[in-house]
């Protein structure tokens, strides 16, 4: 978790916005959704999980070091109004960008039930904060090491079967959002998914982030990042996300060799 000094972004950001971050002169530009902001301190909070080269470089920054470039806030802010009962389904680091959405929904008078899911207990993050912000928190782990054993979808389904749900918001790995979407479609619960596609500039120029929504090509950086999950072609999105996997794997190997890690 990072607290980054960025007073202008802290002031102008809203729930759902993201920033583009680049570490090093030859670094890659990657999108990260803003988890929180502290106006008094002029900082924003980003939560990053080590996945590939760029996220690792970011995670390897020590306190007091600088992020080379950061720009934002980008994307459309989450549409907030009083929907009624909202289930917020998040997986892994997707929990972080969900935090401001939960806070905003709650403030607008919604009953908010948050489902936190991860592979195991160690990967459950921000539980305390979510407990504070939400009316109810359901923790799910794949291995049952904490909370209820099962997938995020089991948690969401238990709520839908128990009471009327007006909206579901989901943020997490694409595959997770796909299954949440399939589930809520079955129950006809309107669902928003915050998509995390590949981006290069992030400012509406390159088109790398395009997804098919309702059969039309849309751009996540400009039209999103949130879309009606039931209209999103998640299979195509997963396919596109995997596009650079081979190159990424080679780069990771190189980085490990260079740093002497095996």
């Amino acid at each position: 978790m990072f607290e980054v000094e960025a007073p202008l972004i802290a002031k102008s950001r809203k729930a759902g916005h993201f920033v583009m971050v680049k570490v090093g002169e030859k670094g890659e530009r990657i999108p990260l959704t803003i988890a929180d902001a502290d106006l008094a301190k002029g900082t924003i909070t980003l939560v990053v999980q080590k996945m590939g080269v760029s996220s690792s470089k970011l995670c390897n920054l020590a306190e007091g070091e600088f992020i080379t470039d950061m720009v934002g806030p980008l994307g459309k802010a989450t549409h907030i109004e009083k929907f009624g009962t909202v289930v917020c389904a998040c997986g892994g680091v997707g929990t972080a960008p969900m935090m401001p959405i939960v806070a905003a929904l709650k403030k607008a008078g919604n009953r908010v039930i948050t489902v936190l899911a991860a592979r195991n207990k160690d990967l459950i993050i921000l539980e305390e904060q979510m407990q504070e912000l939400s009316d109810e928190v359901i923790v799910m782990t794949d291995d049952g090491s904490y909370g209820v054993k099962g997938l995020v979808t089991n948690g969401v389904e238990s709520v839908i079967q128990r009471e009327k749900v007006d909206l579901c918001v989901t943020i997490g790995p694409a595959i997770m959002m796909k299954f949440v979407s399939l589930l809520t479609k079955k129950y006809e619960v309107p669902t928003l998914a915050s998509l995390n596609t590949i981006m290069v500039d992030g400012t509406g120029m390159c088109g790398a982030c395009r997804v098919s929504v309702g059969g039309k090509t849309r751009f996540v950086c400009i039209d999103g990042p949130e879309f009606d999950a039931h209209q999103v072609d998640f299979d195509e999105m997963l396919m596109r996300l995997g596009g650079y996997r081979d190159i990424e794997r080679e780069d990771m190997e190189k980085m490990k060799c260079a740093s002497g890690v095996n």
């Binding site: 202008l8 530009r29 720009v71 400012t203 120029m205 390159c206």
Partner: protein, 487 residues
């Protein structure tokens, strides 16, 4: 002094009379020396070497120093063309560069990327005599390069600072040109750039082999030298709003936010892995330096690359692909070569480099493998029909005639729509259905009086020089508007 008075100066008259017009027009047009095509398609260095001083002076002799220089009408920024050329003829190269800088913020850039054959050179009097036009573009490049290499870079005269703050949104050609003119008039100019590099399309779009970044940086430093400030990673309308700028004392805002979302063809398979926009491809390679091993940004290095389109961006993409090791680098264009909007020189260079031209071919489908990677492209064979709205003969399908070719990368270069960020986030602007900002044609002022705009955000998709022309026009108009408000 106006151009007639300048022309009447003794040195000009003397020079003009030193040679007969017939002798001048009989000199054959200079040829630009260039890297061997076989060598250059394996490196990223600039294709053209530029003229020697001797060749430039010889070419300058061809210019007749007309009483009515029609070439200037063809220049969107109104460069004093005969004046700078006559300085070259006299061997006063630094004076020539100074003349260029009177009206152009980026002469080294324009000398390289302007479509001169459609602008100044298209109006050259030589054409009326069935001779080749004076190589104005080559001469412009020569003078700008000479000045840079001499280390004797002149700084334009700047008016007394007037303390009034002006914001520029975007650091591409429109913004830089505007910033230069406003700074010369004494304004306190700050350019806000969304990306981490200054230069806009000159950096992310146009490749190194056509426009080396180092030269763009020199022009940017020249602007810094006259007081222009640059702030990167800052999006007006997002990071800072126009209201906040106003509150901070900014008196005017010029929006030159440029091109935005790439257009796609909406055909089957277009979202397959390996199919991308030229904006994405060129941004990865140029801005992010993705082809170099120490860059973290990846790029596909296709072996059979098809680029769809016939403009300069398409040529830049296909020639980049060739340089990055493609065995086959193909242009697929739905019209014939004659209708291609690209600069003649780019098409010519591309051919020399072994780029394959598949004209009268329109892609109708991309086919992929089970991993979702593109493997084939289906092309509809076309023929030319009646002229369309653009005046070019429109392509019509030849019924039932298609071809399928094997590819591993496809780059779609069929145009862009304006950048949506500003239109989305600035209240009160009038926006067309194409997403461009509506401005007054003469003043470039938008529906929000403090906001002026120019370049691709107004035109949709245009050239570096048209964007620069807009910047100049907007600067003159904004200066007038601000001063009117003061009186």
């Amino acid at each position: 002094m106006n151009i007639t008075e300048e022309r009447a100066l003794p040195w000009r008259a003397e020079l003009r009379n030193s040679m007969k017009a017939k002798e001048r027009t009989d000199i054959p047009r200079v040829e630009m020396p260039a890297q061997d095509p076989k060598v250059r398609c394996t490196n990223n260095e600039e294709v053209n070497y530029g003229l020697t001083a001797e060749k430039a002076m010889q070419e300058a002799k061809r210019c007749l120093d007309c009483a009515n220089p029609t070439c200037m009408e063809g220049c969107p920024v109104g460069i004093y063309i005969p004046k700078f050329i006559k300085h070259i003829e006299k061997g006063e190269f630094l004076e020539a560069a100074k003349t260029l800088k009177e009206t152009s913020a980026l002469p080294a850039v324009c000398g390289r990327v302007c479509p001169q054959e459609k602008q100044c050179e298209a109006k050259c009097v030589h054409l009326k005599m069935k001779k080749e036009s004076v190589a104005i573009g080559h001469l412009e490049r020569f003078a700008a390069d000479y000045e840079r290499e001499s280390g004797n870079i002149s700084i334009p005269v700047v008016a007394e600072p007037n303390g009034m703050k002006i914001a520029v949104v975007g650091s591409g050609p429109a913004g830089l040109s505007f910033a230069g003119d406003m700074a010369k008039m004494g304004y306190d100019v700050t350019v806000f750039e969304a990306l981490h590099e200054i230069g806009g399309v000159l950096k992310y779009g146009i490749p190194e082999f056509r426009l080396p970044n180092a030269f763009v940086d020199v022009e940017i430093d020249n602007l810094r030298a006259i007081g222009v400030k640059f702030i990167t990673n800052c999006i007006i309308g997002r990071t800072i709003t126009i209201e906040e700028l106003k509150a901070d004392g900014f008196k005017g805002v010029f929006v030159g936010s440029g091109a935005g979302l790439p257009r796609f063809m909406n055909i089957k398979g277009e979202n397959l892995v390996g199919v991308m926009s030229s904006n994405e491809y060129l941004t990865r390679v140029n801005l992010m330096d993705a082809a170099s091993p120490d860059s973290d940004t990846p790029v596909f290095l296709g072996k059979k690359v098809a680029v769809i389109g016939g403009g300069n961006t398409a040529m830049d993409s296909v020639r980049t692909a060739k340089r990055l090791g493609a065995d086959r680098a193909i242009i697929a264009y739905r019209r014939s070569e004659e209708e291609m909007p690209a600069r003649l020189e780019e098409v010519h260079h591309a051919k020399e480099e072994g780029i394959e031209f598949m004209t009268l071919r329109n892609p109708i489908e991309f086919i992929g493998n089970d991993q979702g990677r593109v493997t084939h492209m289906v092309l509809q064979v076309m023929e030319l029909g009646e002229p369309d709205a653009s005046g070019r003969r429109s392509p019509v399908e030849v019924p039932g005639k298609t071809e399928t070719i094997e590819i591993d990368e496809a780059i779609v270069s069929v145009g862009v729509s304006p950048n949506p960020l500003i239109p989305q986030s600035v209240m009160g602007l009038e926006i067309t259905k194409w997403g461009t900002i509506v401005v007054d044609n003469d003043t470039m002022q938008s529906a929000v009086p403090i906001v002026f705009a120019g370049g691709d955000i107004v035109r949709g998709g245009a050239t570096v020089i048209l964007a620069m022309g807009d910047g100049r026009k907007a600067a003159a108009a904004m200066d007038k508007w601000i001063k009117q408000g003061l009186s």
